[in-house]
Amino acid sequence: MKAIEVKGVTKRYKDVLALDSVSFSFEFGKIYGLLGRNGAGKSTLINIIANRVFADKGEVFIDEIPAGENMAVHDKIFCMSETDLYDRDLKAAEHFKWTNRFYKDFDLDKALILSKKYGLDINKRFRALSKGYQSIFKLIIALSLPVPYIIFDEPVLGLDANHRELFYSLLLNEFESGERTFIIATHLIEEVSNIVEDVVLIDNGKIILKDSVENLLEKGYSVSGAASEVESYCAGRNVIGCDELGGLKIAYIMDEKAAPPKESNLEISALNLQKLFVKMTEKGALK
């Protein structure tokens, strides 16, 4: 099977259970959103997949190859981290040269073409690049590696709107269907909601949801109106959260959409991905 398979992965840091026997898979050829609150376990999961941290229990397979301590997966996966691991005094062009040494399939021509296209001055030292261009630089390295799986950990943190737009359009331009898998871990849910096809939601070290964005948007909705009417509508449905505004009650529901009774004044509205996730992970925060 062409996929990243995570099987029963557990990771504990002292008294914090960061990942609790997590099993799921990222299929090949899709753009995934890996979402979760701060401290949910996103980065731990990414670091285990990218073989930067060891799992206490469980294993990760990439295209059926065990990923732990295995050089064979080096050609399969690349992780663009939020933290900068690049020597700040080297010029972008020199970084390209070194990457070319370490990854035999690094496409230097492509890196140069992309740099030109996106206005990255490769003769500038890493430290002299703006925060936006540092990210564009890291993205260009990631995209110039012909690996099937690329993980982006908070790729647009600190970028202004123009650079974020540039980032997403570059990403989509490079996503040729069926040839690559992108996994984007981010807090900016609304921004990626049209870009990602499937989402994996992690909360308190557990995967609490894995579904297509389309399904989620179809099933997630809110119903608002007089509290008593809303409550009787909600009976028997999967309610993920509620808000109250005086006599008005808003219930957030994840279920097959059903029209309210004809006589009622209930209003049904769509729920965006962000609201859906905030509601789904709110309970976890109370524990």
């Binding site: 737009e165 359009s169 989509l172 331009n173 269907s177 049209n194 870009i195 096809e197 948007l217 965006n272």
Partner: protein, 125 residues
């Protein structure tokens, strides 16, 4: 083109409707090429699979077709096809909705007829 994720309508339907509208208004004339999946995807920052799904609706309705190795083209007769489709939807989309709202506002049939006549008079002014 422009998509919004805050409406009830799925993104792929929004894309299909907007492409259809561009064809209907002649922005993309019959027998000319429309933008590719990748172009639309990058322009709207929308997943290419979603764009494809939208385009497939128009392909199924034979409003656009694929020219092997070249891309997607507007079918001849597409505009007429869209016009017929929209005419058949007119009652449900506009008339039924109009009557429903009118009833809520306690407006009579005569009120509505007068308004429609006024609308046509204004247009001819």
């Amino acid at each position: 083109m422009n998509v919004s994720s805050s409406t009830e309508k799925p993104i792929f339907i929004q894309i299909a409707e907007q492409l259809e509208d561009k064809i209907f208004t002649g922005v993309f004339p019959e027998e000319t090429q429309i933008p590719s999946m990748n172009e639309i995807s990058a322009q709207l920052t929308v997943n290419p699979h979603t764009v494809l799904k939208g385009m497939n609706i128009l392909t199924d309705e034979q409003i656009i077709y694929k020219k092997r190795g070249l891309g997607m083209f507007v079918s001849s007769g597409a505009v007429e096809k869209i016009r017929r489709k929209r005419q058949s939807r007119f009652y449900k989309q506009y008339v039924a909705a109009l009557i429903e709202e009118a009833k809520k506002l306690k407006m009579t049939k005569e009120d509505i007829v007068l308004l429609i006549e006024r609308g046509y008079r204004n247009e001819s002014d």
